[in-house]
């Protein structure tokens, strides 16, 4: 066994005992869902160099599909997850076929526009519950055996899904396929001249990323027993970019770190605002909790201006410099 595998097992064991050391399970599950979402997104931006500005569409559509399957059709949770991810994968195929016809900045605009179309569709479609979303989705019995109404049981399911998703991303990145993706990111004309069918690679990367984002969305429905419109908004697409950027583009663990920070921020910004209001005597800070976007926007600007490697990227660079010295 090599060091990496040991490290992974140690990490998994640490995550497994979190609910016993006072970590609120819903919070940890939310982090894992967003982390999987960000890992899926990073596969595209970090490893293939494609900026999708519409990944919320996959998160949202899988959340609705899984919610519908569980609530209306009464499917068991494992099939609900599979159905959600499958819907997102199909949607990813449709998006991908259109979006890879243009590259760079246009790719970002097209994915954003398509995702907005999906958002309007969900807003009007009869099965989504409009502004209210799907509420009270039953979690059901996993494989007919485990009752997921217990947060703890669900916690280990979410952990298993998250681990499987991360393993898949790791496999993809370290496969010959992943090497070609990196080649496309570094120098697309060169990859073409080497004889790779670049469009096919990009499409497959896009579909895989959409499917994994969908898995995250379907899992999120189980955790929160609801699917809402906010999962499909452009703000959500922006949030996943932020998670990946804070953590570190093109690093395996970066998106996980980023997701943790963003979720923590969303939960704690209100408290921080209250503290700032007490310290400075400015009432304005009390409303900070309602307008988290001020803080996320500010972090976005700082990350782009001065911190483009992200936390994990900076750590890796620091380690690299130390080894070289």
């Amino acid at each position: 066994m090599n060091r990496q595998a040991l490290l992974c097992i140690a990490l998994a064991a640490a995550v497994a005992v979190l609910p016993y050391v006072g970590v609120y399970p819903i919070f940890a599950m939310k982090v894992m869902c967003y982390a999987l979402f960000a890992c899926a997104f990073n596969l595209l931006l970090g490893y293939t160099g494609l900026l999708s500005f519409g990944h919320a569409a996959f998160l949202g559509s899988a959340a609705y599909a899984a919610g519908h399957a569980l609530k209306v059709w009464g499917l068991p949770p494992e099939l609900g997850l599979v159905f959600g991810a499958a819907c997102a994968t199909l949607l990813g195929l449709a998006f991908g076929l259109l979006a890879i016809r243009r590259s760079g900045i246009y790719f970002a605009m097209i994915t954003l526009a398509l995702a907005q179309m999906v958002y309007f569709f969900f807003l009007q479609a009869p099965f989504t519950g409009g502004e209210d979303g799907l509420q009270q989705v039953p979690r059901g019995m996993l494989f007919g055996l485990v009752d997921l109404r217990s947060d703890l049981a669900l916690y280990y399911l979410v952990m298993a899904v998250f681990a499987a998703g991360c393993f898949l991303v790791w496999r993809i990145v370290h496969s010959p396929f992943g090497q070609v993706l990196k080649a496309i990111r570094e120098n697309e004309p060169r990859a073409v001249s080497l004889g790779y069918d670049v469009d096919a690679y990009k499409l497959l990367a896009f579909v895989l990323s959409a499917g994994l984002a969908g898995l995250a969305g379907a899992t999120k429905t189980l955790v929160f027993v609801s699917a809402t419109l906010s999962d499909a908004t452009w703000q959500m697409s922006g949030l996943v970019i932020l998670m990946t950027l804070i953590g570190g583009l093109g690093t395996l663990t970066g998106p996980v770190v980023g997701a943790f920070i963003v979720v923590l921020l969303e939960n704690k910004v209100g408290d921080f605002g209250m503290a700032a209001a007490r310290l400075t005597g400015l009432d304005w800070f009390q409303r900070l909790g309602e307008s988290v976007t001020i803080v996320t926007g500010l972090i976005f600007v700082v990350c782009v201006m001065a911190f483009r490697r992200g936390i994990v990227g900076e750590l890796l660079a620091w380690r690299g410099r130390r080894r070289a010295a």
């Binding site: 259109l98 954003l112 926007g297």
Partner: protein
Amino acid sequence: MTTVFGIPIQALLGQLLLGLVNGSFYAVLSLGLAVIFGLLNVINFAHGALYMLGAFAAWMGYAYLGLNYWAMLLLAPLAVGAAGIVIERLLLRHLYRLDHLYGLLLTFGLTLLIEGLMRSFYGVSGQPYSAPEALRGATNLGFMVLPNYRAWVVAASVTVCLATWFVIERTRLGALLRAATENARLVESFGVNVPLMVTLTYGFGVALAGFAGVLAAPVLQISPLMGSNLIIVVFAVVVIGGMGSILGAILTGLGLGVVEGLTKVFWPEASSTVVFIVMAIVLLLRPAGLFGREK
């Protein structure tokens, strides 16, 4: 009463005009995006937020300073342009040597910041703003009743768009601009201050957004979120038209506004998505966009 496909002609013409009004905003905004993209290679996500600031500037000018619509039609674009110049000098400038995507991400972050700030001060509900005295009421053209303000929006937007086209395509300044778009270093070697030109171009592009914001103030609700919903549609407009030609951007903007207006009459459910559907079809048939060049 005359009808077309079972729709009263009055209603049809009314929606057509509404479509043209929306199309005017699309045209002015996509023109600004195209001008900025041409020289800076940056897709300015903050365009929507700056359009919103333009509308708010008009409202604030009246509410706090008592300045009327006409004064703000001039001052608000200048103020928004000045804000743009600050953004370019302080932030955007440092990203030109990087991947163009960072420019998009920066302006996206700025959008969140600006919208969040405005929301924390003014809430999400809209602020009322009435059209100037001279443009209130409507003119009866015989076959339809034409609301004066809407006609003014279309006329003013088209005039500004055509003026921009004239400056860029027919003057010496425009020639330098186009040359810098092709090869900035060469133009710089001729002694032209290209960095200054870049700053002013960004300022001008966002001033156009501010201008559209003032025009929109009396017809739409002035709210912090009015810009971001619009900008995504404008992105689709830009993809459809391609950013290669100025006249193309203007025509695509107006045309899609009309398409949207007509959809509202014949298939209301699809009116919010029709522009995106058109975009998908254009991508399938002509990936470079209607007026774009394949690079």
